[in-house]
Symmetry: C2
Subunit: 358 residues, 2 copies
């Protein structure tokens, strides 16, 4: 069966920083995206909006999108709380009636919607709720600490700073160097891209670490390096529990700290900026302390997201981070040839193989 071609729904919210799922899917598999639905940005191309993605069109509504001949609709935005905008319901019905599958990462399972489920049944389409947790997850017991490959997790100063992107870039670079590297998806976008994984923010709270343990161990089969996709932030008022459970369940030997260089407050609170970010060095202390409370871990590099800066500003931001933390740092999207994080990972693996620690 040929891989599916997706129409991405990101209506009203398609932009470099808001439509995270849409953007990452476009970045990592543009050849499988036929278009994006957004009435605001409609008329142009994805490249106009994101600065990458080429000539993929942005269309104003579902009818125009279906005319592009997709095999499946992908929900491309992740609203806070994860619920489906009501106005999309009719669009999804029409997509199912046109024979399209639906891939969704929302907390509300579309397959549980009786109308959508019935249309899917009648039209022999599939509704894939990738955030639906597997049955019978274990409570974590720290088994991931016993894995032979180097396990590295990205951690962040906030949500939506580049934790998945960092790992996807490194996965490519390491495999290109002949180091067998496996990316472990822990969120909807990673699962869309890789086709497996568990959305750890969607499991029952007692099983966050258990889910992380399970997929980290799966990712470790036939790999030399396991790169686990991070989630949230240890000081995020809403999502920190997911972050810590993932940290303890995956027992990473090394961490890369991800940060959006221009951000000063935690992003979900833009309207009410009461929670100021501490310096990177404080985040490093916090993550190393919290992680090492279960298994020794160390931050080995900084990954900056400088999407809203000039090249000069980005270079200055990296230099400042290097000077503050003493760690290698780059923006792997802006400077894909910069080997800073690749070299840091290879060096960490050397130390790990020799001493069992990074």
């Amino acid at each position: 069966m040929a891989p599916q071609r997706f129409l991405i729904l990101a209506d009203g919210d398609f932009s470099p920083m808001t439509s995270k799922t849409a953007n990452s899917v476009i970045r990592y598999m543009p050849e499988r995206v036929v278009g994006v639905v957004d009435h605001v940005a409609a008329g142009g191309t994805v490249e106009d909006v994101l600065g990458f993605g080429g000539t993929i069109p942005v269309v104003p509504d579902m009818a125009s999108g279906l005319a592009l001949g997709p095999d499946a609709i992908m929900i491309g935005i992740a609203p806070m709380g994860g619920r489906l905008p009501e106005q999309w319901h009719a669009w999804l019905v029409s997509a199912l009636d046109a024979g399209c599958d639906i891939w969704s990462g929302l907390h509300t399972f579309l397959g549980d919607d009786p109308i959508l489920a019935e249309r899917a049944r009648v039209n022999r389409c599939e509704i894939r709720d990738v955030r639906k947790a597997p049955e019978q997850l274990p409570v974590a017991e720290g088994f991931a600490r016993l894995l032979e490959p180097l396990v590295m997790l990205t951690v962040g100063t906030d949500c939506n700073v580049g934790k998945m992107t960092c790992q996807l870039q490194l996965t490519r670079q390491l495999n290109d160097r002949g180091v067998r590297t496996r990316f472990v998806p822990t969120g909807q976008t990673g699962i869309f891209i890789e086709g497996w994984g568990i959305a750890v923010d969607a499991v029952v709270a007692d099983f966050i670490a258990g889910a992380a343990e399970k997929i980290t161990m799966e990712g470790a089969r036939d790999a030399d390096v396991v790169l686990v996709e991070g989630q949230g932030s240890l000081n995020h008022p809403g999502y920190s529990g997911v972050t810590l459970g993932l940290l303890h369940g995956s027992c990473p030997n090394a961490l890369i700290l991800c940060h959006q260089a221009s951000r000063t407050h935690l992003s979900e609170y833009r309207g009410k900026p009461w929670l100021r970010m501490p310096p990177l060095s404080e985040y490093i202390r916090m993550y190393e302390m919290a992680g090492s409370a279960v298994w020794p871990t160390r931050v080995i590099g900084i990954c900056l997201n400088t999407y809203d800066m000039t090249d000069d500003q980005a270079r200055a931001a990296c230099a400042a981070a290097i000077s503050e933390t003493g760690l290698p740092c780059t923006d792997p999207v802006r400077f894909p040839a910069d080997p800073a994080l690749l070299d840091a990972t290879l060096a960490a693996r050397e130390r790990y193989l020799k001493t069992g620690r990074c």
Copy 2:
């Protein structure tokens, strides 16, 4: 309607340290417990097994238990992972057929079992799955930081060390002093005792802090002090995510650190003791750092569980904790007249009212 009288199921596992739910329900509402089912301890009284609870009988099976005339069966043990032991199923059917309700805190919802649901329907009985999360929980936004009452959370060096018991004792003592104090239940046992609350370990991971925020705010109505029941431990390989989400969602101004004095390793790992507990001072540093990353908080006292010690050993353990941490410390179950934690809470409230911090 008269309050229900419970028969507690704790078969094979009724003991001071394992049957946590059963024991706490007996400690805080013995007048509503008609008996305990456990074939191992059967023949004696609850007092024989626990050292408290008086003449409540322990019976070998459901038939003998139903003869005691309960209105409801309460599942009194919390197996790891929270699932129902299979052999209990037939017993619960017979209880429903005898007209009893069922109260359960298991992760597996008994109301979803088609046979039990059908027997409940036929017999007009209710199955109360207290761990079933409410619909439409919010993502936390730090609102609990704005509350007027002092919010205090118990945190622990492990699971099952006395975090709920500490708060229940303090709730009584503070109310006796005329300080309007509200206990906020975050786990099945607390919910059994108080009749409200949310089992934060049973909500979808993204909503742990949101659930904590919601019930902390509910508890703050008409209260001067809000005592939130803690869960797990920040260094527990399986449950730490719940602990941190609860810490950030409830935005406590003060913390009490709970510890079982004789324990050296995290308890779920007794068979494989790889995770040694750090000193109390290290836990304090860890909890204050993690909590204050969202909202300033401070550990103001130590609550020791000395159930397996002599009085002299218990006094020595408290003295050692005081000397190590410089904080007040007692075992409020063994020494109920010791005002150490009560005084520490009152002093914290004074500081909070004057300065907004503890």
